[in-house]
């Protein structure tokens, strides 16, 4: 069995208003960064999953995202495998 350390990023789907991103986008120019746009705020979730191979690990994390970690109505997500360890 192998342990995969995974980082999941959950963000707003395109077209869905992101109130936190909007506030930051208005705050940065006040500090002098007038060249910033497209600010989006999301969540980063890290977890380790034991699985026989990476494809299985990714498939399981994908299901976790769909069923709990993200709300598909307003959010999308990306999955990155950060490290692999034999256990």
């Amino acid at each position: 069995m192998t342990q995969y350390e995974v980082r999941i990023e959950v963000g707003h789907r395109p077209g869905i208003l992101d109130p936190q991103g909007g506030v930051i986008e208005r705050a940065l120019p006040a500090l002098g960064w007038a060249n910033v746009s497209r600010v989006r705020v999301g969540k980063s979730i890290r977890l380790a999953v034991d699985a026989p191979d990476e494809a299985t690990a990714r498939a399981q994390v994908d299901e976790m995202c769909r069923r709990l970690l993200a709300n598909p109505v307003i959010e999308d997500y990306t999955i990155d495998v950060l490290s692999v360890e034999t256990v």
Binding site: G15, L17, P19, L68, L69, N71, V73, I74
Partner: protein
């Protein structure tokens, strides 16, 4: 015999006693339902009360939807039973897929706690059947995440099927199409951000919520 209203409580729910009091004042009989219950008991109607179910961790309502009682609520709703979600209860019904869309942080990121004016958009729901179309109700809101969102297709469906139940007269939170409350296609599941139980006695400053809650009795 008075009608029994089941009031769902999760760890973190905090409006259940207010709903129970309002139900009692209006002549109904409240029955508390715990999140671990696998049945809605003898309830004739179910209210999911407001608060912060399971701490609202991850997302509002995200954990609550997996509580055993939600299977019973879904079954009750499928059989046509009246189900109303108030505030956090609305968020839970959306997460559970019993209502469309989702509720996210208020535009402006302000927690809004104030009385607002709502317009009754349809009277063919279990909650608004005793109100009048176009009637303005003054009822308090109390939320940080009441900003209703959904995709364009869903919004089109809500409009065409007359599922938008209540709209804000003066939108306090950025909600899409000024939506304060919606219902399912069966019209027996209604979610709303405002708290009718907090406007059910003269001493509370408004009795406009009574016309909604009385419809469940």
């Amino acid at each position: 015999m008075s009608r029994r209203v089941g009031i769902v409580m999760f760890p973190g729910t905090n409006c259940e006693q207010d709903v129970a009091w309002a139900v009692t004042v209006l002549g109904g009989e409240p029955e508390m339902l715990w999140h671990g219950d696998r049945t809605v008991g003898t309830a004739d109607a179910v209210v999911i009360a407001g608060g912060f179910a399971h701490g609202d961790y991850l997302r509002t309502g995200a954990i609550a939807r997996f509580s055993p009682v939600m299977d019973a609520v879904a079954e009750f709703a499928r059989a046509g039973g009246p189900v109303v979600g108030i505030c956090n209860g609305f968020q839970i019904l959306c997460e559970a897929g019993l209502l469309a869309g989702a509720l996210q942080k208020n535009a402006g990121l302000k927690f809004r706690c104030e009385a607002v004016d709502l317009r009754v958009e349809t009277t063919s729901t279990v909650l608004t059947r005793q109100a009048e179309a176009g009637q303005i109700l003054r009822i308090p809101i109390n939320h940080f995440e009441g900003n209703f969102v959904c995709d364009e297709g869903t919004l089109k469906g809500l409009r065409e099927n007359d599922q938008i139940v209540l709209r804000y007269v003066d939108n306090p939170n950025g909600s899409l199409d000024d939506i304060a409350g919606i219902c399912n296609e069966g019209r027996n599941v209604v979610g709303l951000m405002p708290h009718p139980e907090r406007a059910s006695e003269a001493i509370l400053g408004s009795t406009d919520g009574a016309v909604l809650l009385r419809a469940l009795l």
